[in-house]
Point group: C2
Chain length 153, copies 2
């Protein structure tokens, strides 16, 4: 973990460069076994893609060589990962994450996702974004078929 | 909302087709003003990208014509959106979401993300995935600079 400091400084430098280039102030690295497999910045200003966060792009880039399982990978992010990016880390098996600037520090600048974390922690019916469960007859047969196709042994 | 049923049936049909084509049983539509702007399926089996969920791909596709703000858009998903996808909806301003199969129904088949929702709702120090805040001297000056560059009026 001795290198955490160096990788994190690089993530902050990427964020700084991205800001000066017209982007949002976020950068990230993905490191595995001491090798930097991906560097990324927030690219929403370039691609118009609302999911183009630095951490998500770093994971997507690394998956092109590693595949979808990212066990053993460490994410270094200039800012506290948003719930989209943190959930992606959980989904892909990223081993740990380190960040420099917390949501509390970003709050006065409108650069915090604490409010979205709060939303996702609520029961669906209480969330601001309406998410409705509309059951479809027989739809769960789809999952039984998934299990039949992929059952172990 | 009368069309919710039809759009959702289409999302389930996409999921079914994707399963039979070797993918995971998830499909989604993005609809705005009664027009289907994007259809997508889970493409992890094709791209190796762990973020290639149907809902995320539908949002990314729609953003290529709409840009990063997706207000007025509705997502129809065969399965209950995972926290990565739901957070992306919050981030981009998607107006609402409708899904057919709930996490509770997916649980027996290993097709639920309820456990990840539970993780994200915990304080960082209690989450299974270690996420460490390592403050960097002067890093928040980056956010002040962001504010200075983008201050209104």
């Amino acid at each position: 973990m001795q290198d955490d400091q160096g990788y994190l400084q690089r993530a902050v430098a990427l964020a700084r460069d991205n800001l000066e280039a017209g982007g949002r102030p976020f950068g990230a690295l993905l490191v595995k076994d001491g090798a930097v497999l991906a560097e990324a910045v927030n690219e929403i200003h370039l691609s118009g893609d609302p999911t183009a966060h630095a951490e998500l792009l770093a994971m997507r880039a690394a998956s092109q060589s590693l595949g979808p399982r990212l066990e053993g990978c460490v994410i270094y992010a200039s800012g506290q990962p948003c719930p989209m990016c943190l959930a992606a880390m959980h989904l892909s098996g990223v081993s740990r994450a380190v960040f420099a600037i917390a949501n509390e520090e970003g709050e006065p600048f409108g650069l915090s996702t604490a409010a979205i974390y709060q939303q996702l922690a609520l029961p669906l019916a209480q969330q601001r974004l309406p998410v409705r469960h509309l059951p479809q007859a027989g739809a769960t047969a789809l999952y039984q078929r998934w299990k039949d196709l992929h059952a172990q042994g």
